[in-house]
């Protein structure tokens, strides 16, 4: 029994996922991740993802590293990460028409869990960038239509900071990703990844019973056999009244964890360099695919992705935006108070 799901990101980019129903299937995991983008209009998607086993059309391809099959506008490989395995075929990513991108994916159960973060996020990022809406790795909150972005790698407390702001009455635009365009921040609502170490009381209060049970079962699993699995909770369910779709970009904080709290103003140019490196560290398996394709086709759009990303960021962040580089200590409460005073000073 096949099921078709449609998603749209601000009507800029639309994608369709077709796959089997099932509790452990990749479709379920993808839906949890992109639930907030669901739409009923399935006409003319930019990207179509078919889940399930398939026979690759990899004849007449360049074979690279005995593993990657590449020809013009075509990429296929079988790959793995720890216990996760997947077969991945992508076509139509070089065409100028936007609605020709097609992906076929077949995964095992662990593969289905990591596939959104390993592949689909980056596909979305790739196409959004093509449409000059660069996505950055960072959380975003706003008040009075002024957006404050906290760009960072994992482990720097960007979610904690954002949620603390929400508790004080600020609106949330994104906890992991934020879209930038033309001096504005656009929301990208992904689910919160909850572990035993980052469950805030305010999140716990708003969680529904099923999520709570799921969370405690996973906590038990961690305590007994040491496997760490995140509980995913939709922010829209947690804070239905604190969501904002679009706000004028006011300040971007770039966070790096270190010993003491320190803050300094940096140039836009420097920020953009940080942001690009940030994005590259994130996208390791996909970056590898891009490099392999660029090796065979050095003149392709894929090989120009990062140059285009830099250009797009330059345009998306206007020159009035305040930019700070913040060294944040482990103590999240201290960090939050200092950033709060900076935000509310004006």
């Amino acid at each position: 029994m096949l099921r078709e799901m449609n998603y749209t990101i601000h009507n800029i980019f639309t994608f369709k996922v077709i796959g089997k129903r099932g509790f452990f299937g990749a479709l379920k995991n993808i839906d949890v991740e992109y639930k907030n983008f669901r739409t009923n209009n399935g006409r003319k998607p930019d990207l179509t993802i078919y889940l399930g086993n398939f026979t690759p059309e990899n004849h007449d391809c360049y074979i690279v590293d005995n593993k990657y099959y590449i020809k013009e506008n075509y990429f296929y490989c079988e790959d793995s990460y720890k216990v996760a395995r997947w077969k991945f075929e992508m076509t139509g990513f070089e065409s100028s028409e936007t609605n020709s991108l097609r992906v076929r994916l077949h995964t095992n159960i662990p593969g289905g869990i990591i596939i959104p973060g390993f592949i689909i996020d980056h596909l979305i990022g790739y196409i959004m960038n093509k449409k000059s809406f660069p996505i950055i790795h960072g959380s975003c909150i706003s008040q009075n239509n002024r957006a404050y972005v906290f760009a960072a790698q994992g482990g720097s407390g960007k979610t904690t900071i954002a949620l603390n702001f929400v508790r004080r009455g600020y609106k949330l635009l994104g906890d992991n990703f934020t879209i930038l365009h033309d001096g504005y921040a656009l929301c990208f609502l992904s689910p919160l990844n909850l572990f035993y170490f980052n469950l805030l009381p305010m999140v716990k209060e708003n969680m529904n019973t099923i999520s709570k049970i799921e969370y405690y079962l996973k906590y038990l699993l961690y305590k007994t056999i040491g496997i760490k699995i995140a509980t995913k909770v939709n922010v829209k369910d947690l804070f239905p009244n604190s969501i904002q779709t679009k706000s004028k970009l006011d300040t971007i904080f770039f966070l790096i964890p270190r010993k003491n709290f320190e803050i300094e103003e940096i140039s836009k140019k420097e920020l953009i360099k940080h942001l690009i490196a940030n994005q590259k560290v994130d996208s390791i398996p996909f970056l590898k695919y891009m490099l392999e394709y660029s090796y065979v086709f050095p003149n392709s759009n894929i090989s120009k992705h990062w140059i285009q990303y830099e250009e797009n960021l330059k345009r998306a962040i206007d020159n009035k935006t305040l930019i700070f580089r913040v060294e944040v200590p482990r103590n999240a409460a201290e960090t939050f108070n200092k950033i709060l005073s900076r935000v509310e000073r004006k």
């Binding site: 074979i63 590293d65 005995n66 790096i256 940030n278 590898k288 392999e292 065979v296 050095p298």
Partner: protein
């Protein structure tokens, strides 16, 4: 135990290890082995160590970065490693490295990750001195070098073997060579394997069980393979990019130089992800370190590294003939003959 290597008097290495046997790493760099070096540029210490991560930036829970320093701990598949590099950006580089590998590789190649990281460090240090270590095979004849660049599995080693056996060429390197101005310097790795293959095997993939046993036996007896003709310095003649395709034709076309430069860069970068031992893991240890370091220090030499290599290679390739050679996925003697006659015709042109 200390071991010393000297790469053409450009870069000097010292490798220290405690209890673990280092024969596999030693085999890789045997060509550059020497009695002693003073003032080494790279010191690699293998074994368990205690990192000094005080006052570091922490990136993604696992990279510890401060000025000229990185520490990183990770695991993947059957391998687990931690690496600490002092002098990551500048000055003398000291690497502390610990890895543990499960399974058969523990016996055969316990230090293959150390080799990866050492090779990348060599690439970085050489690159800073405008000597560019590129992922490419190289052969030479009459003082002119021909590079066969390709990703893994592009059959460049097989072609190199045949060019040496039947074409009268000398070896520069079967996986890497060093480019500097108009010169190509040799970088032969694991000569024992290459020597064995060239003597006993038809192609790089035709290892069977008996060959493996025979090779292991020869290794134990300390066979040296001194019969290989290696040329240390040649002038660059042409670069051929070998692409393997699941078709039947051989197709040669000239390549734009800018395209060729981009391709060499992509080739080097992506190579860090590929484990030659087919451990089913892709580590990318060094590239990940570079990315994490650039994330904290976007103006550092590390962050600019591949851009400066690109400029350097662009200059070098300016006066060089560059071609793309498409070959069928199944190797046959006709592939070799076609490429050999092509190089012969190039030789006339260069002369």
């Amino acid at each position: 135990m200390k071991r010393f290597y000297n790469i053409h008097d450009i870069l000097k290495l010292e490798v220290n290890s405690g209890v673990s046997s280092l024969n596999d790493l030693d085999r890789e760099f045997a060509f550059f082995k020497c009695e002693r070096v003073n003032d080494p540029d790279i010191i690699l210490n293998i074994g368990n160590f205690k990192p000094s991560t005080s006052d570091c930036y922490v990136v993604d829970h696992k990279y510890y970065v401060r000025d000229n320093y990185i520490y990183y701990l990770d695991s993947e598949g059957k391998a687990k490693w931690s690496v600490e590099i002092f002098g990551f950006e500048d000055g003398r580089t000291t690497i502390n490295f610990y890895s543990s590998v499960k399974g058969i590789q523990r016996l055969l190649n316990p230090n293959f990750l150390a080799k990866d990281i050492l090779l990348r460090t060599i690439e970085y240090k050489l690159g800073r001195m405008e000597y560019y270590l590129v992922h490419s095979a190289g052969v030479s004849r009459n003082g002119t070098a021909y590079l066969l660049a390709g990703r893994g599995g592009s059959l460049k080693t097989t072609l190199t073997m045949d060019l040496i056996r039947k074409g009268g060429f000398h070896l520069l390197g079967d996986d890497h060579v060093i480019l500097n101005g108009e010169n190509v310097l040799s970088f032969p790795e694991n000569l024992q394997i290459f020597g064995y293959m060239i003597k006993n095997l038809e192609t790089e993939v035709s290892w069977n069980f008996i060959d493996k046993i025979k090779f292991a036996y020869k290794l134990m007896r300390g066979c040296k393979y001194n019969n290989l003709k290696i040329n240390n310095l040649s002038e660059i003649g042409a670069v051929l990019f070998i692409l393997r395709k699941n078709g039947h034709n051989i197709c040669i076309r000239e390549l734009d130089r800018r395209e060729a430069t981009d391709r060499l860069i992509a080739n080097n970068m992506v190579d860090d992800f590929i484990s030659p031992q087919k451990l089913d893991i892709s580590t990318g240890i060094y590239l990940k370190c570079m990315l994490a370091y650039s994330y904290v220090f976007p103006h550092s030499e590390v962050a600019k590294f591949y851009d400066s290599v690109r400029e350097g290679l662009k200059d070098i390739l300016r006066s060089v003939l560059v071609y793309e050679v498409e070959i069928p996925s199944k190797y046959s003697i006709s592939t070799f003959e076609r490429i050999k006659s092509f190089i012969d015709s190039l030789e006339k042109e260069v002369a």
